[in-house]
């Protein structure tokens, strides 16, 4: 099978690259091996919350130049400010066209989202039912917070949220309380209603009658001036439709928090991108896995000719350009062996961390980030990787397969995924090696 471009990996980086390729009129395939990290993500777009040295960033745009100077190995420093913000604007536009409007603070500040534990996480761009708290928290305008406990739902605990929120000094003068709400559809189920997951509840709430009844109950416990914290239990296949309906029926300010996986906030993004990719003519090879690649030498560099997958067995998939968006360990983009870490498909050169003892910190929740989270593929300025020191000229690395950043500690996972996916396609199009 022959394509103009093949993308390995169906997470946020892979879809960004795939959608950009389609926009450029390329015949494009995405090979996706099951669930991406989006299934346990917040569904917000983190841009940059902390420097690698742990300092807090309030406005990523304002400090960008300084950041790029001081941390030249960070992927953002290679992408550059202009492309970074261009890619985010583009992402905002396409997600909006797919029914998921994303917004950020007008002045470009980060904002806080309330987490399922009642702590605050800094992010940059969020879905409509994420309440954006100001990064200068003392300026918040919250009057009262109501945290909804859905009766018998195991994967969200409202008491943890309220009690932790109450510990935040800036919230000491506001009322924060729990309220229990039942879902009618829980009774009369064949299975034990106490064992439902977020995705099962989403199925129940896709019924119009259920939504109305749920809305009536919510109206009784909150007023429009409150922030109503609701576990993310809607939008499996129907995006924001149910939440829009709830909002319309109640007029309440809803703040969604992700639950224990699956996280519907993340799934919503994946579904929107996946639908768009297919509608725009992309080939989505789901549940397949790349097993190996064939490279040829070409004037001092390597050229990836074709790849093979588990499903297509001996039939090669060829393309002019390839994008690696296969994620890190969880998505099997990397494999850790006893004393070394490898990129399993092409055996690409990785950033060096030699001793297994140095892959992690002593404490799990450490002030310093775990080195294994920053391990990744070494690349040149255009994100081309190397195999035994030789550049692969038509393969581009994106997202968490890249070295040099910690997506969690620096709060930049989705921003890096989007910007490097976007940037790589630009490089690909500029690449003299493109033969369409």
């Amino acid at each position: 099978m022959k394509f103009d471009s093949i993308i390995i990996g169906g997470g946020i980086a892979g879809y960004t690259a795939g959608l950009r390729c389609l926009e450029a009129g390329l015949k494009t395939a995405i090979i996706s091996n099951g669930q991406s990290a989006l299934h346990f993500s917040s569904g917000s777009i983190d841009l940059l919350s902390h420097t690698p040295t742990g300092k807090i960033i309030r406005n990523p745009e304002a400090v960008f130049e300084k950041f790029a100077r001081e941390f030249p190995d960070h992927p953002y420093s290679k992408v550059g400010k202009e492309i970074l913000f261009e890619s985010l604007d583009w992402y905002k536009k396409i997600l909006s066209s797919a029914g998921i409007p994303l917004t950020h603070q007008e002045n470009g500040d980060n904002h806080f989202r309330i987490t399922p534990l009642g702590t605050l996480k800094s992010t940059w761009m969020s879905q409509p039912y994420i309440y954006q708290l100001p990064v200068r928290l003392e300026e918040h305008k919250v009057q009262r917070i109501i945290v909804v406990q859905i009766d018998n739902f195991r994967d969200f605990n409202s008491k943890m949220v309220t009690d932790n929120l109450n510990q935040i000094p800036e919230f000491k003068d506001i009322k924060i309380k729990n309220a229990s709400v039942s879902i009618d559809g829980f009774s009369g189920l064949k299975r034990n209603p106490c064992e439902l997951r977020s995705i099962d509840i989403a199925r129940i709430l896709s019924d119009e009658h259920e939504v109305r009844s749920f809305a009536d109950k919510l109206k009784k416990i909150a007023s429009p001036d409150d922030i109503l914290i609701l576990p993310a239990v809607t939008g499996n296949g129907d995006g924001l439709a149910v939440l829009n309906k709830l909002h319309e029926l109640t007029g309440l300010t809803i703040h969604e928090v992700p639950t224990m996986p699956p996280s519907l906030l993340g799934i919503r993004l994946e579904e929107a991108m996946s639908r768009l990719f297919i509608n725009n003519g992309g080939s989505l090879l789901k549940g397949d896995q790349v097993t190996k690649g064939e490279m040829a030498e070409e004037g001092g560099t390597l050229h990836l000719k074709s790849i093979y997958t588990r499903n297509f067995k001996e039939m090669p998939l060829t393309a002019a350009n390839f994008i690696l968006a296969s994620g890190s360990f969880f998505s099997k983009g990397f494999k850790a062996h006893y004393n070394q870490i490898k990129e399993p498909v092409f055996d690409l050169d990785l950033s060096n961390i030699e001793d297994r003892k140095s892959w992690h910190q002593e404490q799990f929740f450490s002030q310093k980030s775990h080195p294994f989270l920053s391990i990744g593929i070494k690349t040149n300025a255009t994100f081309n990787p190397m195999h035994k020191g030789v550049v692969v000229n038509n393969l581009f690395c994106t997202g968490s397969s890249l070295a040099g950043y910690d997506p969690i500690a620096q709060g930049c996972g989705s921003g890096v995924a989007i910007s490097t996916g976007y940037y790589s396609v630009n490089q690909m199009l500029n690449n003299s090696g493109v033969n369409r």
Partner: protein, 550 residues
Amino acid sequence: MGHISRFETEVLIIGGGATGTSIMRDCALRGIKCMLLDKNDIASGTTGRNHGLLHSGARYAVTDSESAHECIQENKILRKIASHCVDQTDGLFITLPEDDLSFQSTFIHACTSVGIDTQKLTPEEALKLEPNVNPSLLGAVKVPDGTLDPFRLCASNVLDAKQHGAQIFTYSIVQSFIRVGERIIGASCLNVRTNEKFEIFANEVINAAGIWGKNICQYAELDVQMFPAKGSLLVLEHRINDLVINRCRKPADADILVPGDSISLIGTTSEEIDYCEIDSLRVTDQEVNILIEEGAKLAPILEQTRILRAYAGVRPLVDVSGGNGRNISRGIVLLDHAKRDGLTGLTSILGGKLMTCRLMAEMTTDVVAEKLGNNSPCTTHLQPLPGSVERTDKQPRKKTALTSKAAAYRHGEKAVQLFDQSAKGKSIVCECEMVSVGEIEYAIKKLDVTNLVDLRRRTRLGMGSCQGELCTYRASGLFCEYGQCSGHDSSKLLIHFLEERWKGIKPVLFDDALREAEFTYWIYEGLFGAADVTLLGTAQNDEKKEYYEI
């Protein structure tokens, strides 16, 4: 500090391991009033950090016939009184090409002479019984080994003792002994969770603190030499063997593979360590290596099996030479300090094995009961523990059963009847180990559970292949409901559990353990922002803030 609570009892037991809890039960059944103190949770020391092997005694038959004899006696008793803690798997002693096959007859002879049944098997017969055993084996001997769940055993001891009037104080340390001349009359104690001080006055104090017993003796200004030996083990993701597999040779490193509920364990290494290291055990990379390499010789599949975590315990070896040179005993050491040191009111029970805990308790309680003038005979070898019922089938239990079946195995059928039977009570919290809300409620209310690590010891929650990925969050919320915990405190319990688990994962942080760790970190830090919970409301939170500006 204001008021200090005072308690009076006949016997104060220090140490809530297998020995201490067995003594607690023995005393209670003889009508002796007793209280037990542990600096941590029950079974949190050496007791919960070994193989959980129900020795037949075969392992010691050739080298130490006294231990072998004790083991087979206790083996038979525990099968009767603690059937819910025992899995009667049987064990194989295999001879590999690199071993001396002639050792087999020495071994069989030694077993027979102490009363251990043996059955010689051909390689084919052994493979039929245990398909994962190394197929290159030259021969095998089947013996009545099994598995013994130390957590369950201790919890049942405590439950029975409490039903007979005994009292327990976990997370409480001895700060000093209360003395009158050459007599110890009690101890000043501190609850390390609440920082409350209290005093326990007792006619007799029993030091059953295992390796920490040396410290306890020091409080009484007595000198006991102990030599801690670290033993490390690995937990494998699933149960790769149904029979215990040993090597038919003199005991060595990493030559026992034990099935335990849904997992298997490979162990152990042996390394003498400094006494000051006993509270900060680390499994080294080299030990992990040896365990995998040697373990794969018992069952080659081990090399392809995911490792869940590593842990280490300390063998409490005692020097019985009395100060001249070294004469280290692996056996039971009972020290009547009145006779040995002229200090009345204190008895130490040291050394020994998990297998001999009941016997050690009987020996100790005999000595102490005599001092108290109590003539009631020991009955712990006759009376089944709560939850233990005679099992008719000799088959090993199925690995995954319905929650009530799993819980009955853990707590006995009587206890399960007490669980909340509503839809909520029956709903599953931990899918790997089939732990229900009702079981957790029972554990929090009845089994002295104060945190998620205690809960894991009682219920196996979070011990299965997912290592508590989802269930710890669910379970921590239940502490709000049943444990009078605030939501803030229960979030801290969650973090405490994940930090504890991290200790065991670090030594094996590669392959799937690393994948899983990344996943856990993404959820609990990336999605949930858990790291901030411990900083909330503290000054540290503000000091930490440093902004990056142009």
